[in-house]
Amino acid sequence: MSVKLTIMEQMAQIAREHGKILAPLRDELVLLDSGLDSLGFAVLVARLEDRLGVDPFTAFDDALFPVTFGDFVKVYENGAH
């Protein structure tokens, strides 16, 4: 499964668990408008480390916080390769 699909699947799963409604995931979507809150993103980062074997935010001290869904996926695609 691609990095992007893994992220989409996990976001949908966490939204279900946290009782949130997920917005359609387009690249330009602002993450904070996706429906997940801070805790949701914290859980997402931890689950993605489990699935993809990388936490790009902790691995690289200079990783900036992404603003859009597209930026977020890119951080993982760069981290995974």
């Binding site: 668990e17 801070s38 805790l39 993103f41 914290a42 859980v43 980062v45 990783a63 916080f65």
Partner: protein
């Protein structure tokens, strides 16, 4: 305009001498600080609360601020109910703090204890003919987080609460903002900074989207902004961060790591960025403004601004006039016999700096909410296939920490990857059905064994 501060003993006396062009804002309401010195939000009933032990149970931060300012120096004791207080604890809190009056607003919880005096606080203030003059040193009771059961109530004085605030100058060009709720120590500090420092203040509102909050802060021209590292990480994820350009950025309440400090430096290249160490019990101990995580080890060697610090058995201990004096109605003392408060925060030396390494007893801080691992382990251990579990914090770039569970399964049973995946899902479901969402583990690892120490207890590492 900057001017020398007038000496005063109560909040209303501070406001009586300030500039008239300073305001308190929330999303819907606005008050002129100077008006609060001579007006009432309590329908002129302040006299009834003179000498009383008052529970401030207002739902909005705006009415809370009005009530606290009016009552300081008049009520004997103010107990501030935080927004997330458990209604099941109300009766015990009222008994311990000997509460005989409650101040409410239209959104206050319905199941407050039945008290002899009940006074409504309105968001609109009206001129009062004659308010009772401040005549006593009010005790301020703040509820602690991180305890299981009824929260402890730490007793502060206005003098102690305001001791960390710069002594000399007031500046009405300052506009404070805070992501905190003013009913917690970190937020209350900012309310007091605004009142004593002659500044304006923009309050946060529960449930307000971060983009709207940042927009509001930008419109009011916020110059000084305070929050936890988790608050700041969330703000940094919003494009609306561009709407603010504070000249002072302050972090406290959680460990400020180098990544969040660097991200803030990148977002606000010209701002002064400081992180403070403070807790409900220990007060504000120190502020670090060199842009680096941790704090210089030399802070331990000399008394700074009346604050003495030392490390004993790995945890930071603090003695200062800013600490709470005691807990109300609790047997355990808040300070040791030597006057030091044990913060429970473990510190480790790295070069010439000290770094925070988590809480003693493994208590986990999730975006400012404290979580006891044992409570989560007890739920996981109820699962029929679980032998034992260890819940631990994992560093998170978003909330500081998340909860991770290492689980040892009982022998036997299907060990195929697919079957283990199903067990993990099942354990997570058990947790979500039983626990608030922030206590549900972010991830579960099935492990072959867990370390048990010489005392027979699970070995917990700080982190």
């Amino acid at each position: 305009m900057k001017m020398a501060r007038t000496e005063a003993r109560s909040l209303r006396q501070f406001l009586a001498h300030g500039s008239s062009e300073r305001f308190l804002w929330d999303r819907a309401a606005c008050a002129r600080f100077a008006d609060l010195a001579g007006c009432t939000s309590l329908g002129g009933r302040l006299q009834e609360l003179a000498g009383a032990s008052v529970l401030v149970a207002t739902a909005s931060q705006f009415t809370t601020a009005l009530a606290l300012i009016e009552l300081d120096g008049v009520a004997r004791r103010l107990t501030i109910l935080p927004p997330d207080a458990d209604p099941g604890h109300f009766a015990a809190l009222a008994e311990r703090a000997e509460i005989d009056a409650v101040v409410i607003d239209s959104g206050s919880p319905a199941n407050l204890p039945d008290l002899p005096i009940r006074v409504a606080c309105a968001a609109e203030i009206v001129a009062a003919d004659k308010l009772p003059a401040p005549s006593c040193e009010t005790e301020w009771l703040l509820l602690t987080s991180g305890t299981t059961g009824v929260p402890k109530m730490a007793v502060h004085s206005l003098a102690g609460l305001t001791a960390p605030i710069g002594r000399n100058m007031v500046d009405d060009a300052v506009v404070w903002g805070t992501f905190y709720d003013i009913r917690r120590y970190g937020g209350l500090q900012i309310l007091l900074r605004a009142v004593l420092g002659g500044a304006s203040l923009v309050l946060s509102c529960a449930g307000e989207p971060i983009a709207d909050h940042l927009d509001r802060l930008g419109r009011h021209g916020v110059t000084h902004l305070s929050g936890t590292p988790s608050h700041w990480r969330r703000a940094l994820m919003s494009p609306a961060i561009r709407k603010i350009s504070p000249r002072y950025v302050r972090l406290s309440g959680e460990i400020a790591d180098q990544a969040v400090l660097d991200s803030l430096r990148n977002a606000f290249p010209h701002a002064s960025i400081g992180h403070a160490y403070a807790s409900t019990e220990a007060g504000v101990a120190f502020e670090v403004d060199d842009g680096l995580a941790g704090f210089p080890a030399e802070y331990l060697e000399r008394c700074r601004d009346g604050v003495e610090m030392r490390i004993f058995e790995g945890s930071l201990r603090i003695r200062s006039p800013r600490t709470a004096s005691r807990y109300v109605g609790a047997e355990a003392p808040l300070r040791g016999e030597d006057g030091f408060v044990d913060t429970g925060d473990m510190v480790e030396m790295g070069g010439d700096r000290l770094f925070f390494a988590g809480r003693r007893g493994g208590i986990i801080n999730i975006g400012g909410l404290k979580v006891h691992p044992e409570e989560i382990e007890a739920v996981i251990n109820r699962h029929p296939r679980v032998r034992m579990s260890l819940v631990r914090p994992k560093r998170s770039p978003v909330t500081g920490s998340v909860v991770i569970a290492d689980v040892v399964l009982k022998s036997g049973g299907d060990r195929a990857d697919e079957a283990l995946g199903a067990v993990k899902v099942d354990i997570l479901k058990l947790c979500s059905d039983t626990l608030p969402v922030y206590k549900v583990p972010a991830a579960i690892s099935i492990v072959p064994s867990l370390d048990v120490g010489a005392t027979g207890k699970l070995v917990r590492r700080h982190g």
